[in-house]
Amino acid sequence: MSAGPYNYSYIFKYIIIGDMGVGKSCLLHQFTEKKFMADCPHTIGVEFGTRIIEVSGQKIKLQIWDTAGQERFRAVTRSYYRGAAGALMVYDITRRSTYNHLSSWLTDTRNLTNPSTVIFLIGNKCDLEGQRDVTYEEASKFAEENGLMFVEASAKTGDNVEEAFLETAKKIYQSIQDGRLDLNAAESGVQHKPSQPGRNPLSNDQQANKDNCAC
């Protein structure tokens, strides 16, 4: 498909959040590079990665912000929640404390993102079945109660990593199609590339708004 100068029609902004050492950076690395980064230094502040995926024939560029789990950088990382279309909330299935902290992560996410933000719960390190500390059932119940999507994944083996990112994108794309997500909202986390003529259904509304503008 040809889409003019850009070969993607949307940019979706994601954030990855969760406690220190749950494997956020590894998940991102696995998704963008398809490699496991065994000795990953702790993230300071935020790092980012991108990848272009395809959903329903539309090329979408994912701009993923991998945040630091450390409390010390919470002030910095919080500024990245704003305008995220997708939030991947990660815990480590071998460490219960990371699971226990989910509710506070969720509160942060709900408070700092907009209501249309898709939240996906990932139980990472599912390759370490022997050290499991949080059952699948328990986490899936938590996800259900809070209306989150949920998988157990492994950044090491790559299990379900792709799925988590793609499912989130599908859900966001669906929201756009349904009109639940307003592309013109200030912090929708989705950018529509103006590369395709006629793909911007909001031009007319915009024209009307122009006259109301104070300046």
Binding site: Y6, I44, F48, T50, E71, A185, A186, P194
Partner: protein
């Protein structure tokens, strides 16, 4: 901050040197044309001014080539060798990105309609710009509407221009446009009559505000624009810094002590300042973050050295901080500031100095080799870079330890909170318990007071033998049930059984004259024998009118303390008694039964009680066998309405005082079943059932307790 004297004598800057060095001279930061301003790697080592001149020359040289992308690529190739080398290193990493034409957008494929859409997008909600607009209005409105109008007109013109050129021109040209507009506005503020009344310091602020406001509006188009490969560069340096995470202060020949807690905290402050840069939108604000960070670095050094800081020490420390911070989109931020921050700010002053240092630090990081790190052996460097060799640096472990400490504190705080909450729960429980006790006492008190006010005392039966018939009739006004029985004496004398019964009753009464509801009940039941005769009287108008009188009265206004009503009700009773002695007696007797403790023996003693069901054995023989069945059937017919009537009185006296829900356990027989007395039974069923349970004091108390 020690004064860093600028030495203008040096002509060549560090960018010309092949080897990145930790020790750079002040002059190395200067423009390579020797004009004295700070140079910048992104300006190929020139200062902004000289770079533009240089670019113009370049452009002329290539004027035969009209293709913009080639030109921007030519500019790219103008970067240092290291830039290229570094890119080759990261090429592998970014293969997937390179395969996409996105990042190499050719700008000559263009239709004139496109810029319009950008304007549309620009219209989308921009809370930051709106905030600034409000800020402007509050700060500068005093200088008149005309200033405000002009300001917004100019910023509008600028943003429209940039947006229209966005896809037509390379980002460097847009940067130039921006600089031109900044200057234009500055000249306008200083020369146009509109701004005549504005003081000069405010004029400067206005110029600054112009830059800030327009850049915040244009941020999403000009920061890391998709027409450039800025993002690619960001990813490359991010990756590189991650790979260099093993580098420590010693490698950098830097005096930062990584193990000291205070130093670490100061370094963290510097790191946080630098990290804040990416969240800012205006170049001015980003620059302010850099300045803040660098000041913190100086503080760190001062702390470590305990004295003044030389410029030589500053750069390694800054490199260390940049390496540890790995700030997001570092390249994009630097490029954005170099392109769109007002030139003059970057070319001189503290901000210019620090920003140039940051650029040097980034350049060093991009190009460093084993040699640059305190002459580390090449193999060791390679081993570190490939991840073969890992070392847990003091910094890294301190980070983990910090988090451990943090979690510990978090848990302690959580425990404290929990114990506080437990205390609160305990306190509330205690107060709840007290409240319950108070409520209980209150209910008991009010029940008692109600009982005192409305004594439904069954007075001892007056010996009927001493009374004449007339006397008995007068007595009825007070002692309905008893009189009934005496009344019966007259009606029943002809029956032997009746007489015997009566006599038997009398003797019983005398024995238990003072207070025994049980006995009274038993006594009162006896008149039942006469039921058949009296049943006719029930139909009489007399009876109906009297009962309706009670009803009317009760509907109108009856307070429990209404003595007149109580009296009246008693009168009514009596009227009834005269005709329906038996029925009344039963009715009256039921009430006391309910009020006193419902001992099983008592229930047995009450044959007409709806609960009691059959007649007690003791009394059955006394009732004529021929009449007995009739009594039972009639009983349901008209005794019960009366019963309700009696209860109504009780209810009226108690209702307002004690709020106890009517017991649903009232037996079904209370509802009249006989169709004969439809008027009466209607009334009876309309009357609430409450009294039956309210009459029962013991059950009342019990209910009160259980409700609590």
């Amino acid at each position: 901050m020690p004064v860093l004297t600028l030495q203008r004598s040096y002509k060549y800057i560090m960018y010309a040197t092949k080897q990145p060095s930790l020790r750079i001279k002040q002059a190395d930061l200067k423009c390579k044309s020797g004009c004295g301003f700070y140079g910048n790697a992104d300006w190929e080592g020139y200062c902004s001014q000289c770079y533009r001149n240089h670019m113009d020359v370049e452009r002329q040289k290539k004027s035969h080539n009209s293709q913009m992308p080639d030109q921007s690529r030519a500019q790219m190739s103008g970067f240092t060798k290291f830039e290229e080398k570094k890119r080759q290193q990261t090429d592998k990493k970014n293969k997937y990105l390179k395969s996409l034409p996105v990042f190499r957008k050719s700008s000559n494929v263009k239709d004139s309609g496109r810029p319009e859409k950008y304007i549309d997008i620009m219209r989308q909600a921009n809370p930051d710009a709106n905030k600034l607009m409000v800020e402007f209005i509050t700060q500068y409105s005093q200088y008149g509407d005309i200033v405000k109008k002009d300001f917004f007109k100019c910023s509008q013109a600028f943003s429209n221009k940039v947006i229209n050129e966005l896809e037509v021109k390379p980002i460097e040209d847009l940067a130039e446009t921006a600089q031109n507009y900044y200057n234009l506005y500055q000249n306008r503020v200083n020369s146009n009559s509109i701004y005549e009344d504005v003081p000069s310091e405010i004029r400067e602020k206005l110029v600054e505000f112009f830059e800030k406001y327009t850049m915040i509006i244009l941020y999403s188009f000009l920061f890391c624009p998709p027409t450039t490969n800025d993002e690619e560069k960001d990813l490359a340096i991010q990756n590189r810094i991650r790979k260099l995470s093993w580098v420590n202060a010693h490698h950098l020949d830097c005096c930062i002590s990584e193990t000291s807690i205070e130093v670490r905290d100061l370094v963290y402050t510097a790191i946080n300042d630098l990290l804040g840069m990416d969240s800012m939108k205006a170049p001015l604000e980003k620059l302010a973050c850099v300045v803040k960070c660098c000041r913190s670095v100086v503080e760190v050094l001062q702390h470590c050295q305990g004295g003044p800081v030389s410029a030589d020490e500053f750069l390694p420390a800054l490199i260390f901080v940049v390496l540890k911070a790995n700030p997001a989109r570092l390249k994009s931020n630097i490029l954005y500031v170099t392109r769109f921050c007002k030139d003059s700010r970057l070319m001189q002053g503290e901000a210019g100095y620090y920003f140039t240092n940051l650029c040097c630090a980034v350049s060093f990081i991009e190009n460093l080799t084993a040699e640059s790190l305190n002459n580390m052996p090449e193999q060791e460097f390679e081993a570190y870079m490939s991840g073969e060799l890992t070392c847990v640096s003091a910094w890294e472990s301190a980070l983990v330890a910090c988090e451990g400490m943090h979690q510990l504190c978090e848990h302690l705080a959580f425990l404290k909170e929990l114990s506080e909450r437990t205390q609160i729960v305990q306190n509330t429980t205690q107060s709840l318990r007290d409240d319950m006790q108070k409520l209980k006492e209150g209910i008991c008190d009010s029940v008692e007071s109600v009982l005192e006010r409305t004594p439904l005392i069954i007075k001892p039966r007056i010996n009927p033998l001493t009374l004449t018939k007339e006397q008995l009739f007068t007595q009825t006004t007070q002692y309905g049930p008893q009189i009934e029985t005496t009344n019966e004496v007259n009606t029943c004398t002809d029956t032997d059984i009746g007489q015997n019964y009566y006599l038997q009753n009398l003797s019983l009464t005398q024995i238990n004259a003072l207070d025994s509801t049980k006995n009274k009940l038993q006594l009162d039941i006896t008149p039942c024998i006469t039921l058949p005769e009296i049943s006719k009287a029930l139909n009489s108008n007399d009876f109906l009118s009297s009962s309706s009188a009670v009803d009317n009265k009760s509907i109108e206004s009856i307070t429990p303390d209404d003595n007149s009503y109580l009296g009246l009700s008693k009168v009514n009773y009596d009227i009834d008694f005269s005709d329906l002695s038996t029925e009344n007696s039963v009715a009256e007797d039921l009430t006391p039964e309910k009020r006193k403790s419902p001992t099983p023996s008592f229930v047995i003693g009450d044959p007409f009680s709806p609960i009691g069901g059959s007649c007690p054995i003791a009394q059955t023989p006394l009732v004529p066998s021929s009449v007995f069945p009739q009594i039972e059937s009639k009983n349901d017919g008209f005794v019960l309405p009366f019963l309700d009537d009696t209860e109504e009185n009780v209810e009226d006296s108690l209702l307002d005082k004690v709020e106890v829900a009517p017991s649903a356990s009232l037996p079904a027989p209370l509802v009249p079943t006989s169709s004969e007395y439809s008027g009466f039974s209607k009334q009876g069923s309309r009357i609430p059932n409450i009294p039956c349970s309210t009459g029962d004091f013991s059950s009342l108390n019990f209910a009160g307790n259980s409700n609590m």
